[in-house]
């Protein structure tokens, strides 16, 4: 009898522990309040839901080597991981996951994200910031014939030939564009520069030899800025990426495209800048960056430099007063204001027509620092929160339905013993969930399916035992003996059953990704719990019954 007492104590104790493990508790986590993520206390059941159940985004990133091979990928990835992690932390997501997978990839999981595109941008942006003075020596004009020749040799003029007839209108377009769009020039002097720029643009004998560059590229409103119509953009971009072009580049200069295209009438234009290849400073001397709204400039990002950066910035900008300084982000010119005086520790980046959110995001990525290597997306999954909630509902209904069906089958067929089995099954559910909570496992949609399935499999153990008990009773054995024998004979089959399925589950866990791992985990947790409930809990129930009836009554099985 002492034995029975300990058994009951163990079952009740485990049940209490399970309930405690599953009890809704107060945790501090990031939650969304009125569209903003804040830290707050939440009461919830400590079961983690996977992305497919709560909605969110899963990103797999890998090093982009399309432009440049990376020597030590693993090391570069480690550094990138730190940057990505810092960006995500500041981006504000509840319980994000940022981790390295193997030596090749970074996995980012952002639960509850509804603007997937924006999130991806924040993660992926290289955020390499450079400040470069624009060219004012007309270096481009000098090399243009050479450029044309290279383009012609590469057969890259065709795209623009057809457009030559429209050249006059195009020029008009550019001129009007220059007077309208002066936001790249920083202040009143910018206007003056713009007008001169336009004059020289009109004066340039554009279509001399019909070359790709001389036909399509026109000087813009500020020194070192050139305007390219949309029709020729692709051809020119291709031409500029030719290896021969690199040798023909004016010495000490680089060419960069502007971030935005400019629209004038029906035409779209792209800005091409010629810049000093040596940057005054780069983003690594930034100590802080904050978004802000300026009544004149619109949305801006204000930045602060460290001591050394500030000193260098002051000296260099002092040398270039009245020149234009291009602010280049990821090799694209964001803006190129005129320097009115030397700039020291603090500066700002004007975003033209950018939204406050884009200013916030830019400030965020600048603060977190540049990615040491470019990253590309190898895999992305995003699931809307409503679909996730729908999945939970359906999964829960399926679970309850399966459970009820099984209850009907068990009680209908095994009567009293069936009720014992159902009680054991209820304990099984609680134990399994507790194991999942205890191991901090993530519940996914396939995981829910695995859970439903494991109920069916858990019952198998009980069925095996009951059928065996029936047979033993048929052989005329007493209740006590039949129950003993039933459990003893069913034991090996139950262990085999669990073992084979657990092996499959472990393999699945090893090779599966997120959702399928959830399946493997619930399946394994379910099988372990079912071993305990079938072999230990059910037996204890029978022992209680035996001690109550002293085995004299007929066993209803």
């Amino acid at each position: 009898m002492a034995n029975l007492k300990y058994r009951i104590l163990l079952i009740v104790g485990l049940f209490a522990a399970s309930v405690w493990a599953l009890f809704p508790r107060t945790v501090v986590e990031r939650v969304k309040r009125d569209g903003v993520f804040v830290y707050d206390t939440v009461r919830r059941v400590p079961l983690k839901r996977g992305l497919d159940l709560q909605g969110g985004m899963h990103l797999t990133l890998e090093v982009d080597e399309s432009k440049q091979a990376v020597v030590d990928k693993s090391e570069a990835l480690d550094r990138a991981l730190k940057v990505v992690r810092q960006r995500i932390d500041e981006f504000g997501v509840s319980e994000p996951v940022v981790q390295k997978a193997g030596n090749e990839r970074i996995i980012v999981e952002l639960p509850g994200i509804d603007d997937a595109e924006r999130a991806q941008d924040v993660v992926q942006k290289s955020a390499f910031l450079e400040f470069q003075i624009t060219d004012k020596t007309q270096a481009f004009e000098k090399v243009m014939p050479r450029f044309d020749e290279i383009a012609r040799n590469a057969g890259l003029s065709a795209a623009s030939e057809a457009k030559t007839s429209g050249d006059t209108t195009k020029k008009v377009g550019v001129t009007s564009l220059l007077t309208q769009q002066s936001d790249s020039a920083k202040d009143s002097t910018g206007k003056a520069v713009a007008t001169t720029g336009a004059d020289s643009g009109a004066a340039t004998p554009a279509a001399v030899a019909g070359g790709l560059f001389s036909t399509n590229v026109q000087a813009g409103q500020i020194p070192g800025q050139y305007i390219v119509p949309e029709a020729a953009y692709a051809a020119i971009e291709r031409a500029l990426s030719l290896p021969a072009m690199q040798d023909a580049m004016p010495p000490g200069k680089v060419m960069r495209w502007g971030v935005d295209s400019l629209v004038s009438g029906t035409q779209r234009f792209f800005a091409l800048y010629v810049l000093d290849s040596r940057p005054i400073i780069t983003g690594d001397v930034l100590t802080d960056a904050r978004p802000s709204t300026d009544p004149v400039e619109g949305n801006v990002v204000q930045f602060t430099l460290n001591n050394e950066g500030a000193r260098r910035f002051k000296v260099e900008t002092g040398k270039h007063v009245k020149d234009n300084m291009a602010i280049v982000l990821d090799q694209r010119v964001v803006t190129a204001p005129v320097l009115n005086s030397a700039i020291g520790r603090n500066g700002q980046i004007t975003l033209g027509g950018g939204t406050l959110q884009s200013a916030q995001d830019l400030a965020l990525v600048l603060r977190a620092g540049a990615l040491p290597v470019p990253l590309k997306v190898a895999e992305v999954r995003s699931i809307g929160a409503s679909l996730g909630a729908d999945s939970i509902n359906k999964g829960a209904i399926a679970l309850v339905t399966a459970f009820l069906l099984i209850v009907v089958i068990l009680i209908g067929y095994y009567r009293f013993s069936g009720m014992l089995a159902v009680a054991a099954l209820l304990l099984f559910l609680v134990y399994t969930l507790a194991v999942l909570a205890g191991f901090n496992a993530v519940l996914t949609l396939p995981g829910l399916a695995g859970f439903v399935l494991s109920i069916g499999i858990a019952v198998d153990a009980n069925v095996l035992i009951f059928e065996r008990i029936r047979e033993e009773l048929d052989h005329g054995k007493s209740n006590r003996l039949a129950i003993d024998e039933g459990f003893r004979h069913a034991l090996s089959a139950i262990i085999d059953t669990s073992a084979t399925t657990i092996f499959s589950g472990m393999v699945l866990y090893q090779f599966g990704t997120g959702p399928v791992r959830g399946f493997a985990v619930t399946l394994i947790a379910g099988l372990v719990a079912s071993l305990f409930t079938a072999l230990f809990v059910s037996k204890t129930f029978f022992m209680i019954w035996l001690s109550r009836t002293r085995g004299n009554q007929t066993l209803s099985i």
């Binding site: 997306v377 992305v380 699931i383 949609l445 439903v452 003893r488 090996s492 499959s504 399946f519």
Partner: protein
């Protein structure tokens, strides 16, 4: 007490030819559809490509959706209704599109989103689910799934070999392999999309099917100890199958209850998984009776036991035995 299939004396083993005919026909039919339509219907995870589940405000004209996508350069996409009339899935996985995703997996999905937004108006389309998988990840997942299946098979095989003597083990392994093969045929014939979740179902079946066979073989092993003089192996097998029949039926019923609940209620994403499970559970029960048993008899007839060696192992390997390792006379198998 309520009893089903109690004290039955069906002669299962006798009908092995019919059973073999049915399953071979099924497998062949699967192979033929494989030959005709070619390839398995892999999900985006394995092929690479883009899947988008789109919810429209009003039921859209599929032709318009298609032409919109074509105009955006997403040709050859598969557009299917998913659940309600306003919900569709779009799969873009042309070679060209998959290739394009090598540079960045999100490219195609962005194109689809902006094209549909433009056509139907930004507020009228919601993208509830997006999966974009680059070709490299896809091929890795494919080989990962294959490795997983092989590894799980090997482990199950090893376990069976360890638990039974080799004749039982071989019969169990072959019967389990048969189940997987038939399930593949089913997947192919009903054109079920093979995703990681379906692979998970197949691996679960591997365990389930092996265990169904184990339970019957366990009983065969036990009954061999008690067999009367001159009783043939097939008679012992029939007896064991009949004795475990109520259990087989009951377990099948409860597992089926679970899988049917998933199939009917749990929604479209989990449905392929539920189909494969429901079918597989049925096949596992069938094969543990009609395939594993006859195979065992066939193996025993090819490689008869000598009285001294493996009999005792076959009989005593299980831990349900009393610990007596000396084979008694009645336990020995007559050489057939």
């Amino acid at each position: 007490m309520l009893r089903i299939f109690h004290n039955t004396k069906y002669e299962f083993v006798k009908h092995w030819r019919i059973a073999a005919g049915i399953t071979v026909a099924f497998i062949v039919a699967g192979l033929v559809t494989f030959g005709i339509t070619g390839g398995v219907n892999y999900s985006i995870e394995f092929t690479g490509g883009t899947l988008m589940q789109v919810q429209f405000k009003q039921a859209p004209d599929v032709a318009v959706v298609r032409s919109t996508l074509d105009k955006a350069g997403i040709t050859g996409s598969e557009i299917q209704q998913f659940g309600s009339a306003t919900e569709y899935t779009i799969r873009a996985r042309d070679e060209k599109q998959v290739e394009e995703q090598a540079a960045g997996a999100e490219g195609i999905s962005k194109k689809i989103a902006s094209a549909l937004d433009q056509q139907f108006g930004a507020g009228n389309v919601t993208f509830v689910r997006t999966e974009a998988v680059g070709p490299k990840v896809g091929s890795e997942l494919r080989s990962g799934a294959l490795t997983a299946m092989l590894l799980a098979s090997l482990i199950t095989l090893g376990y069976l070999a360890f638990r039974f003597d080799w004749r039982f083990g071989a019969a169990a392994v072959l019967s389990t392999a048969h189940d997987i093969l038939v399930t593949f045929a089913f997947i192919k014939m009903f054109d079920i999309e093979v995703s990681l979740t379906v692979v998970a179902a197949i691996l679960t079946l591997l365990g389930y099917s092996a265990n169904d066979t184990i339970i019957i073989f366990d009983r065969v092993r036990e009954d061999l100890k008690k067999r009367a003089k001159g009783e043939s192996l097939s008679a012992v097998l029939d007896r064991a199958i009949n004795e475990t029949l109520p259990r087989s039926v009951m377990t099948h019923a409860t597992t089926l209850a679970s899988t049917l609940a998933l199939l009917v209620i749990a929604g479209g994403v989990i449905r392929p998984f539920a189909w494969v499970m429901a079918f597989g559970v049925f096949v596992a029960t069938f094969s543990s009776i009609y395939v594993a048993g006859p195979l065992l008899i066939w193996i025993e007839s090819k490689y008869p036991r000598t009285t001294s060696d493996s009999t005792s192992r076959a009989v005593n390997a299980g831990n349900d035995n009393s610990g007596d390792t000396r084979p008694r006379k009645s336990e020995r198998l007559a050489t057939r």
